[in-house]
């Protein structure tokens, strides 16, 4: 009984993440992969993502401190970052990544820098939201969190 409000809250949180464009279809794919044999799959993947991508973000940051910019390298890092981000369905982050790569391709250093700042913001925001989401999910109980329809 007490779970229901939690579940409802969870559902709302989830919905808002999608509605606000933080997450996309891919996240649903992750949820669908979560089941009894893999009860915390989504959280595991997201955790892994944040852990691994932190390294990439750092690399990019360092690369942006060295002038002139090595666009090729920046692009390579971002390509990787984008791949990861898209794997968990991080929609806004992915969009910023794409933009960043465009700037790299056109050699726009300013654009890259600006874009990267925005990207970090989105990245951090999403992380906070997901952490909160998972916290509620854990409290609400492992069942059904992944299967909720959009």
């Amino acid at each position: 009984m007490e779970r229901n409000p939690l579940r409802r809250q969870l559902q709302l949180m989830r919905k808002s993440l999608f509605d606000q464009g933080y997450l996309d279809e891919q996240f649903v794919q992750l949820e669908e992969l979560q089941d009894d044999t893999n009860p915390n799959f989504v959280e595991e993947v997201v955790t892994l993502y944040y852990r691994d991508s932190a390294r990439l973000v750092l690399n990019i940051e360092q690369a942006l401190e060295r002038k002139p910019y090595n666009f090729h390298k920046l692009d390579a890092y971002m390509h990787q970052f984008k791949g990861s981000s898209s794997s968990i369905g991080a929609k806004k982050v992915k969009a910023e990544s794409t933009l960043f790569r465009e700037y790299c391709k056109s050699g726009n250093g300013e654009g890259c820098m600006r874009c990267f700042q925005q990207l970090k913001k989105e990245y951090a925001t999403l992380r906070k939201k997901l952490e909160a989401y998972f916290q509620v999910a854990r409290q609400a109980g492992p069942m059904e969190t992944a299967c909720r329809p959009k």
């Binding site: 891919q26 794919q29 992750l30 669908e32 992969l33 893999n38 799959f41 595991e44 993947v45 892994l48 993502y49 691994d52 991508s53 390579a76 390509h79 990787q80 984008k82 791949g83 990861s84 898209s86 794997s87 968990i88 369905g89 391709k105």
Partner: protein, 635 residues
């Protein structure tokens, strides 16, 4: 015993339990991939390092059924891994990348990938990957059976020996290639084997561009369906080449064709492209660039249409047609639709257009392909050369496939390397959406070598330009020479990779080959014809995902050498050897060919392509980027 039972049960339930090796340096993606694959009920092994993957594969070749690998990896390039796996283990490999660039996709396919998936990968896509395993088994069997039925039983042993030795020989061959530019010398290696092929280990025959061209010409003459090693051998009239050599080469060739068509067919939408509504193209376009590539590859229709229909001159004309050139407008990156490659016969208008393209006129690369189109008549189904012309009607994309084919044929013609043939397929592609600016001016001759600028693929295609000029001269030669290359590219590619890396450093001989090949009559015709044949078989030959821009210069650069080149050197007809990624690429650039006005769009494409090239280097006419693959040991 229990284990055996389990194993056999698993096999019976194929695709359940299919053993997949997943390679990706990104842990998030790898975990996701693994979970997805497990959900599909495959048996999954993962590793984040390509080197480890290779080790595992080499330890036991029968341990896995399929390999899925990321393209960008720190310890080894995904394409390299792809080549090695294909060559050494002959396992189907699926590439995975977050980057859906047409060029990359093309590169993947030309390197022999069965499929190219975009990240984030979805389970639906993974559910179907088992087909690659089945297909490969079936095709290999079929091809082998076919060749067996036609050839003596020796062929198999010869082939097996050849294949078996592929890994070892490749390296040896590479060295040999460096030393022997002359194909005849290569043949000497096999001279001794004539007596007892099945019993002795034969030195591999290096299928140089020249040799391959002859092979293709012979096959074209006979008709791919009827080509028997014995007759091919007779037609080729090369000393010291044995029937077994030809047989295995033929087998690989056929395998390649089939593979291409499989790839092409995979993209169902593509099929639509050729003769169907444009919407299919659009759909293709939506395939994240992947589709396009396949789309071009062709649906049978496409092939038929494109190739058949192009009468040599007409083809060119078609290319000119804005529709074709219209690729620019293609929604999807490079879905080049043959558009309506309808069999409407050759429109006379096209002819005129073609004229302009005709390589004789120094047309753009595409045109180069055109000259080959002269032989199109020979193409089996002259359904209507008009396709090219029609392409314009079709979604702009249409053109390319045709052109692609032409190019392919062209490329095949002059590309000594079998790779070139391959490139042609890739050439077609280029439609990377990025190139949007095709400037007519750049299109110098219509096909500015740039062809596919975005990156890598461009370099792959040697600009046809130089070829075109040659084509002019050697239209006759076109017959069937070039074409096969395209077709061959497939199997060639596999074998080539090994060679390619080697040649990288030794550009010289490449260029040598290239120039020679280029200078010699460009077997465009042959290519065309071949294309036709190939097309019939493989819709996929023209996978060209052409971005609107990409049509540009058909750079027939070895697709393997994806690096787009540092620009095509303007050396007229000089075959600068550009090593990209270790591949020598010859970029044939049209020498100051004039592109007739109608080619406009084509020019635009070319220019767009050129432009992109310019980022890397200036595409110049007459650059030959020769792929080091010119010598491919297909056997």
């Amino acid at each position: 015993m229990t284990v055996e039972r389990i194993v056999s049960e698993t096999k019976d339930q194929f695709p359940i339990g299919m053993r997949v090796l997943a390679v990706d340096d990104d842990p998030t993606c790898l975990l996701l991939l693994e979970t997805l694959l497990r959900r599909c009920q495959y048996h999954v092994t993962t590793t984040s390092q390509a080197i480890t993957a290779l080790k595992m594969l080499r330890e036991n070749k029968n341990k896995f059924d399929l390999v899925i690998s990321d393209v960008h990896m720190p310890d080894m390039d995904g394409f390299k891994l792809l080549e090695l796996v294909g060559l050494e283990m002959d396992l189907p490999v699926i590439m995975l990348s977050a980057n859906g660039d047409t060029k990359l996709v093309m590169k993947g396919i030309t390197h022999g990938a069965c499929d190219y998936l975009l990240k984030p990968v979805r389970i639906e896509e993974l559910k179907n990957i088992w087909q690659h395993v089945v297909r490969r088994k079936k095709f290999d069997r079929k091809v082998r059976n076919n060749s067996d039925s036609q050839d003596k039983p020796h062929a198999d042993s010869g082939e097996a020996a050849g294949i078996g030795k592929a890994d070892n020989s490749a390296k040896i061959n590479k060295k040999r290639k460096d030393q022997n530019e002359d194909e005849d010398e290569d043949l000497d290696e096999n001279g001794q084997d004539n007596d007892d092929p099945s019993a002795q280990k034969k030195p591999r025959v290096v299928w140089s561009v020249e040799l391959h061209r002859k092979f293709v010409a012979a096959v074209n003459q006979l008709g791919i369906e009827k080509a028997v090693p014995k007759k091919i051998l007779e037609l080729m009239n090369v000393e010291k080449l044995t029937r077994e050599n030809v047989a295995s080469h033929l087998q690989k060739f056929r395998l390649y064709l089939k593979r291409i068509s499989c790839v092409a067919n995979q993209q169902a939408n593509m099929a639509a492209a050729v003769g169907t509504a444009d919407s299919s193209y659009l759909r293709m376009g939506s395939l994240n660039g992947l589709g396009n590539f396949h789309a071009l590859a062709g649906t049978d229709q496409l092939h038929n249409a494109a190739f058949r229909s192009f009468p040599p001159s007409r083809v060119l004309g078609r290319l000119n047609t804005p529709a074709g050139l219209g690729i620019r407008g293609l929604p999807s990156p490079g879905t080049i639709q043959l558009g309506h490659v309808q069999n409407s016969g050759h429109s006379s208008n096209d002819q005129s257009k073609l004229q302009s393209f005709i390589p004789g006129n120094h047309n753009t690369n595409i045109l180069q392909g055109m000259p080959m189109s002269l032989d199109l008549d020979q193409l089996q189904n002259n359904k209507g050369v008009s396709h090219i012309g029609e392409l314009p009607t079709a979604n702009r994309t249409a053109v390319f496939p045709v052109s692609g084919s032409l190019i392919d044929s062209r490329i095949a013609g002059f590309s000594n390397n079998p790779l070139l043939g391959v490139t042609s397929n890739s050439l077609m592609l280029e439609g990377s959406s990025q190139q949007a600016n095709l400037h007519a001016s750049n299109l110098r001759d219509g096909v500015s070598a740039a062809g596919f600028q975005n990156g890598n693929t461009l370099s792959n295609f040697a600009s046809i330009d130089p070829v075109s000029s040659q084509l002019r001269d050697s239209k006759a030669d076109l017959q069937g020479q070039a074409a096969p290359i395209n077709c061959n590219a497939g199997p060639m590619i596999r074998s080539v990779p090994q060679e390619w890396s080697a040649p990288r450093k030794d550009a010289p001989y490449q260029s040598h080959l290239m120039s020679s090949s280029v200078n010699s009559s460009i077997p465009v015709n042959g290519a065309m014809v071949q294309l036709d044949q190939c097309l019939d078989r493989n819709n996929s030959i023209f996978h060209r995902t052409m971005d609107s821009d990409s049509i540009g210069p058909l750079n027939f650069v070895d697709p393997l050498s994806i690096k787009h080149s540092e620009g095509l050197n303007s050396a007229a007809m000089e075959p600068p050897v550009i090593e990209k990624e270790g591949y020598l690429m010859y970029q044939l650039r049209p020498h100051g060919n004039h592109i007739p006005d109608n080619i406009g769009s084509l020019e635009d494409l070319a220019s767009a392509m050129m432009k992109q090239d310019q980022d890397k280097g200036k595409p110049t006419a007459g650059n030959f980027r020769h792929n080091s693959y010119s010598h491919r040991t297909c056997i």
